[in-house]
Symmetry: C2
Subunit: 267 residues, 2 copies
């Protein structure tokens, strides 16, 4: 289509080319962007099957002078990975973006470690290979233009997601983390709890129960590192755990009070 | 249709004509059965709008000599309601059935209180007004022919559900209760816990989170009495609560261990 022909083609370096980096790369390549990749492990085969180029040495990646460096490594490794990048080999006006599932932490990380000339956009595509099985349309994409000098380039990057039909939500990183504790961390916690119980299909599963089984599958297809990162790097997560525990205690108390009412009546 | 014309029409007395009794009555009436109803509260208006006849006095109901008496009262009130029925006014060979969401308890209740001539079929249609919004097809219907002399009549009653396309599951009451603690009581407990947290829609709700919100809605559309009954009258429920609590503790422990690992590295 006409429109497709005219959008700006970007050279995007994905740092952290695991499950999620590769998932994003597929769409970037389909849209005609050039994808360069680097990761701790060697993912050359995956990269070439996707149509991206893998660089085992981050210096080679940086010397390609990408327009955008996209951090897609685990939350827990993000600081080490940032420190290992030879930033001086990049052009001074590179756009740095990230897709970490927490947002205050990478915002601070990028502001602390990047030279002042670099632009910074923090993002969270709130979907993954499971939930976006049928495309990205309608799914929320959260972003915060933390420091943007070159507006056209930042917009070209954001447009990748807009073009797929994502619901674009501009939101400060701190506000994201407040919501995300209640939505994402809670969902993962319930999924992880139910996974511990090793639930099984039964001949008499209700619809509600099947919902729980699907939740377990979707949660546990993400790495435990990801879940751990949601907890460790979102300061609202501890309070959410406390609320969940309080909720369980309250439900138990109501049940046991009911038991006592019945017993009292029988005495 | 030919087939529809030929099935046996039953006179069914529903005792406990609340949310669920009325839900069942609509389908019974549509299939051409005669529905008589009795309940603690006066539900005459609801009954006549459904095409059923309401009897405020249980003696009048029993003197109509229904083929089937279907107990659809709350689990917690089932014993009192049974004791209040003038059983001697029924025909000696009446079929007694129930739809309580637990099964060992009503089995024992009916065996203890009914004269030996009465037939007994314990059932649990594992769906309700919410989950069966689009019909009963494919949804599990559990039954146990506890004591059946008149096979044709019991079959005619079970056929009501088979004709709607339910998945008919013949299962001893004890086995039902083992499965139901893991499926139904767990689902309700998770829904009730999340309800205590008063979760709200956010601009960045993930698909998984929306699943949780729907679970809350579906769970809380049932009465707390129902949930309380699932707990109080299923001996497997306490163990399930313990497992859920253990699961929460295990997840928390894994998270806090991860926190310590990181701290130790930094020291
Ligand atoms: N999965 C999702 O649905 C989703 C959705 C939105 C955002 N995200 C975010 O995307 C990022 C990646 O997520 P993910 O699903 O791929 O799983 P993940 O477990 O969070 O991250 C895996 C990636 O981190 C790298 N990594 C892990 N430990 C490392 C270390 N010590 N040193 C260097 N690299 C390390 C892995 O490298 P190697 O593979 O090379 O070993 C891999 O590329 C995370 O920040 C996550 O929060 C994920
Ligand atoms: N809802 C479902 O999806 C579902 C599914 C399968 C099975 N069931 C079973 O169906 C039965 C009815 O369920 P429900 O959803 O209607 O809600 P419920 O709260 O379990 O039961 C309400 C019914 O119990 C009666 N009742 C409550 N307390 C009573 C008392 N002290 N004395 C006399 N009657 C009393 C009510 O009478 P009045 O209305 O006249 O006051 C009403 O008919 C339960 O045994 C439940 O386990 C429900």
């Amino acid at each position: 289509e006409e429109e497709e022909e005219h959008h700006q083609r970007l050279r995007i370096a994905i740092v952290g080319f695991g499950n999620y980096g590769q998932f994003l790369a597929r769409t970037f390549v389909r849209q005609g962007h050039t994808v360069l990749a680097h990761s701790r492990s060697d993912h050359s085969a995956a990269a070439s099957s996707i149509g991206a180029t893998f660089f085992p040495d981050p210096r080679d990646l940086c010397e390609c002078h990408p327009d955008v460096v996209l951090l897609a490594t685990s939350i827990l490794s993000a600081e080490d990975v940032m420190l290992s990048l030879p930033l001086h080999r990049l052009r001074r006006d590179t756009l740095f973006a990230d897709v970490l599932s927490v947002k205050e932490f990478p915002k601070k990380l990028l502001l602390d470690h990047l030279p002042r000339d670099f632009d910074i956009v923090c993002t969270h595509p709130m979907f993954g290979p499971e939930s976006a099985r049928d495309g990205w349309a309608g799914l929320p994409f959260v972003f915060d233009k933390v420091r943007v000098g070159n507006c056209a380039r930042a917009q070209a990057f954001l447009d990748i997601f807009a073009r797929e039909g994502c619901r674009m939500v501009e939101m400060p990183c701190a506000e994201h983390d407040e919501h995300a504790a209640e939505t994402q961390f809670l969902t993962h916690t319930v999924g992880r709890m139910l996974a511990m119980m090793e639930l099984k299909e039964t001949p008499i599963s209700t619809k509600g129960y099947e919902t729980l089984l699907r939740l377990v599958d979707n949660t546990c297809s993400d790495s435990f590192d990801l879940y751990n990162g949601l907890f460790m790097y979102n300061k609202n997560a501890t309070e959410l755990l406390n609320r969940l525990e309080w909720a369980m205690d309250s439900v138990k108390r109501k049940l046991f009070d009911g038991l006592h009412d019945v017993l009292r009546k029988q005495l």
